[in-house]
Amino acid sequence: MYSIEAKSLTKSFGDLIAVNDVSFSVEKGEIFGFLGPNGAGKSTTMMIFTTLLKPTSGNAVIAGFDVMKDAKHVRENIGFVQQETTVDEYLTGRENLLLQAKLNHIPKNEINKRIDEVLDLIELSDKQDQAVVTYSGGMRKRLDIAGGLLHHPKVLFLDEPTVGLDIQTRRKIWEYIKKIHIEFEMTIFVTTHYMEEADNLCDRIGIIDGGKIQVIDSPQNMKNALGNEIISLVVENNNNNDSFLAELKKIEFIKKINQDDSKLTLFTSNGTEVIPKIFQISSELGIKIITISLTQPTLDDVFISYTGHEIRDDKSKFNRKIEHAKMKRLRA
């Protein structure tokens, strides 16, 4: 049985088509990642799933209930942790959870037990009676997530649960998510624009860009489809560089070489066998290798291969690249 089914979902805001004919399904118990850059339509899709927005056309079925016709039953079966932190600063941590428990009709005699349980899980028991104003950003986010799963929903929606947090806290939150996933057997639908997060957390990933689903698969399959390993090396500038390059190209496993001054990127397979050969060639030609590394293709590479651009639409970074290219052209 599916926990989430999107059927040709479309949502437009005036002229803007935020979600464009999106169809996919998520199986019960899966952690499904929705990956895409800013403005891709992730939150909009999630708001349709959580009954906050009505689709312009198409439909969605959550935990077996139609979001349009049976919104109330959908709401009884979901937890939703929004992109922005929404805990109430005036209330204490415990009061926030109590509010969440009441909103979600947890039976009275269960409430305290559940709250203790979840406070323990997010390691905030000792701070539970302090006002949330005194919490750090990471603590607030943990409390927010705790509120979403307090009532053990069948499907938990997490909209960018770790955005803006430091890497340590981010990893911790992944751990929590994995833990609750196992403990309560929830289906988890999580949006993110962190590749690492999607890679670490998700059974399957859907890449969305410009409101359209580009691909859906497991992170490993996606990377395998790209096939190659990547060897990056930096060499000392030398007159023999051209012949070095020519010799490298003769190695059978190497498929493509990108050169950027003294930095070489080799797309290859059987990387561990290729590296000794590189050293052999370099010593024959008297070329000094400064650094060398062997990496697996990342989801970043996957993302670029499906969308034609990088996920982070960091303008300054982008411009620097253009500037860099310009400078190169000038120099040539």
Partner: protein, 261 residues
């Protein structure tokens, strides 16, 4: 039905918790009515002959104290809905909307909390009035007076929630509140007897639910009936006003929160 009541109480509880944590707000909201009763009450003390002409024997300040109690109720409750805007902006609303509680329970919970808070503020003003020498011929009357203030504030909280649900920005909300609050207060016998208003204004005042509330509270407080409106009529008008406002607020709120903010 049971669950609507439980859900209404959940929201009511949350609103009161927030109110309790903002103690400074309690005092700030008392400043304006306190100034009214102390300053205006004394400035106009010379107008005693005017109010005597309509059969009111006491001091002016005793005449206008009920008006200031209602002023407090009006403004506390008509401002009260503003956190609807914050809730939509900061995500609490979406949290409530994706939980199984009904939309009207959210509106009802907010309104009942606002009306109780308004009544609490009004009771503080009664305290100030007593402290500066206003007397109650029958102190037990405080109980029905508080009942009326709670009821009346519920109606105004309905206005507030309706406006807050339709307003897209704080500015619009504050604008509409100011447009409504002051005229409704001024076009009532809160500060001067109805009999002293020009005819056409008196007609307008008779369409204003604030008028009936002021008359009723004043009659309970001082024992002087004024304007020739029987108590039962006043009670009926207040009830009708409250039922209408609560119904409109629930309807409008439910309709508006289903649209993207």
């Amino acid at each position: 039905m049971n669950s609507v009541m439980y859900d209404t109480y959940t929201i009511f509880w949350r609103e009161l918790k927030r109110y309790k944590k903002s103690r400074s707000g309690v005092l700030i909201r008392l400043i304006q009515p306190a100034i009214w009763i102390i300053v205006v009450g004394n400035i106009f003390s010379e107008t005693q002959p005017l109010i005597q002409s309509v059969g009111f024997e006491g001091e002016y300040i005793e005449f206008m104290a009920p008006g200031v109690i209602i002023l407090t109720a009006i403004f506390t409750s008509i401002f009260g809905g503003v956190n609807t805007l914050w809730d939509r902006r900061y995500g609490f609303m979406n949290k409530a909307l994706t939980s199984p509680i009904s939309r009207s329970a959210i509106a009802l919970g907010k309104m009942s909390a606002i009306s109780l808070i308004a009544a609490l503020q009004a009771s503080l003003i009664i305290g100030i009035a007593l402290a500066i020498g206003v007397t109650f011929p029958n102190p037990l009357m405080i109980i029905p007076i508080m009942g009326i203030v709670i009821l009346f504030s519920l109606g105004f909280s309905g206005i507030s929630v309706t406006l807050a649900a339709t307003a897209k920005s704080q500015e619009t909300f504050w604008g509409m509140i100011n447009l409504l609050g002051m005229p409704l207060f001024m076009l009532s016998p809160a500060l001067f007897p109805l009999e002293l208003l020009p005819n056409w204004l008196a007609v307008v005042a008779k369409l204003n639910p604030v008028t009936y509330t002021v008359l009723l509270v004043r009659e309970l407080m001082t024992g002087v009936s004024e304007g020739g409106v029987p108590i039962l009529i006043s009670i009926a008008v207040i009830f009708a006003f409250v039922v209408a406002m609560v119904a409109i607020a629930s309807y409008v709120f439910t309709r508006e929160v289903n649209k993207p903010f």
